[in-house]
């Protein structure tokens, strides 16, 4: 997801185009190609739960993935598969934590009332503090059947950013017609106290008259989602998605958080190369 006017988008698109060209030159697109390349164009938004923040627009969604027998690259995730059986597929995975994205779209404002509602003697600047991306490694287990698909994953920070860990459990069930598919899903996401506090806590050094210090403990997010596709051909489809994620109580009560729910939607055309 990138902002339509973002320089990163331009660089990313050019890079992806060149990358895709090289990839396609090396491995022609076919059903058993290790490559999965695609692009979706449309419009959507992901809401930003932070104070002094803007929602995140979505105009382009690139899909760049490569799946070998053992190793895989999936849109930024790196994986090493060590078990692949009918009972399930298990992999070591390296990924970036997703909470950091919200802190990129914040701004400063002078306020005369603190986030707790207390009046201030003089206007004070209010802006969410800076946060860094964390690199996390963990194990992911995928299983599927007629009953749907399920994934279980646990990740630990290895970049000394938050030093915490998280665990995801997701279940989805796809239904389909002649030319369409619809997949509702539910995701439970546990976040340790260290992880939660790094992103949603306010350290003493960051606190001000407008922004009180806050310690966040661990918590459980849950998310409901639905993805739908209408296929015009094998390569071209119209996609519509909606996700609703409810932040855990300790994150939601943070003075940095204005909205407890994070909602995301997108509608557009997706093309698979």
């Amino acid at each position: 997801m990138l902002h339509p006017k973002s320089p990163a988008l331009t660089v990313g698109l050019v890079g992806a185009w060149l990358f895709a060209g090289c990839a396609l030159a090396q491995a022609p697109a076919k059903p058993d190609s290790p490559w999965r390349l695609g692009v979706a164009l449309g419009y959507g938004e992901r809401s930003n739960p932070l104070i002094q923040s803007r929602d995140i627009p979505v105009a382009v969604d690139l899909d760049i993935a490569w799946f070998g027998k053992r190793f895989f690259f999936d849109n930024g995730d790196l994986g090493l598969t060590f078990m692949n059986r009918p009972a399930g597929t298990a992999s070591f995975v390296v990924r970036a934590n997703s909470d950091r994205v919200f802190f990129s779209r914040t701004s400063t404002r002078f306020v005369s009332v603190s986030v707790t509602g207390a009046p201030l003697a003089t206007p004070a600047p209010l802006k969410p503090p800076k946060r860094r991306y964390a690199i996390e490694t963990g194990v992911e287990y995928l299983v599927d059947g007629r009953w749907g698909r399920m994934s279980l994953a646990g990740f630990q920070d290895v970049s000394s950013v938050h030093n915490g860990f998280g665990a995801d459990l997701e279940y989805g069930y796809a239904i389909q017609g002649r030319r369409w598919t619809l997949e509702p899903s539910i995701l439970l996401r546990y976040k340790s106290g260290e992880l939660n506090d790094y992103y949603w806590g306010v350290r003493a050094g960051e606190a001000s008259a407008a922004l009180p210090a806050y310690d966040a403990g661990d918590g459980l997010n849950w998310q409901l989602g639905v993805r739908s596709s209408y296929y015009f051909s094998r390569r071209l489809r119209f996609v519509a998605t909606f996700n609703h994620e409810r932040l855990n109580a300790d994150a939601a009560h943070s003075p940095l958080v204005e909205q407890r729910a994070v909602r995301a939607y997108f509608g557009g055309f997706a093309y698979s190369f």
């Binding site: 995928l142 059947g145 007629r146 796809a174 389909q176 002649r178 030319r179 051909s233 996609v239």
Partner: protein, 142 residues
């Protein structure tokens, strides 16, 4: 000369642009003598744990001039149905689709295809379940 003809009913500039480049499987409008062949659906999605999908295809054709025409398919050795001195026709065909295939119209007794429509089989559940991972991008909405 084979001609691919599909009727496309969804409006939209983007779709028309894509259609004009052939990405929707559309091709040139048939000539005066070529019957217009239409097949619905032109796609079949295989279910999970299945390499095929079974469905009924509704096929109709229309010609500017009456003639003797036959409807054929990659899935059958013999013509599905033939018409004598007809300018229109319709047929239903139940097929268990295991691969992409074509329906076509020929003049009776000739092999040359006057019009053809491709039917695609989509397998959305790959054998490699890693391709169905959902935690793709950190900001992904798809």
């Amino acid at each position: 000369m084979s001609r691919l003809v599909k009727r496309f009913t969804v409006p939209g500039v983007a779709l028309l642009a894509l259609a004009s480049t052939g990405h929707l499987g559309l091709a040139a409008t048939p000539g005066v003598d070529a019957p217009r062949l239409r097949v619905r659906p032109v796609m079949c999605i295989a279910g999970r744990d299945s390499a095929s999908c079974a469905t009924v295809f509704e096929i109709d054709w229309k010609s500017s001039a009456p003639g003797d025409y036959c409807l054929g398919s990659d899935e059958r050795r013999e013509p599905l149905r033939c018409w004598t001195q007809a300018s229109t026709g319709a047929h239903s065909d139940r097929v268990t689709v295991t691969r992409d295939f074509y329906y076509w119209i020929t003049t009776s007794g000739e092999a040359r295809r006057l019009s053809a429509v491709k039917v695609e089989l989509l397998r959305l559940h790959p054998e490699d379940r890693r391709r169905e991972r959902r935690s793709r991008h950190v900001w992904d909405v798809l």
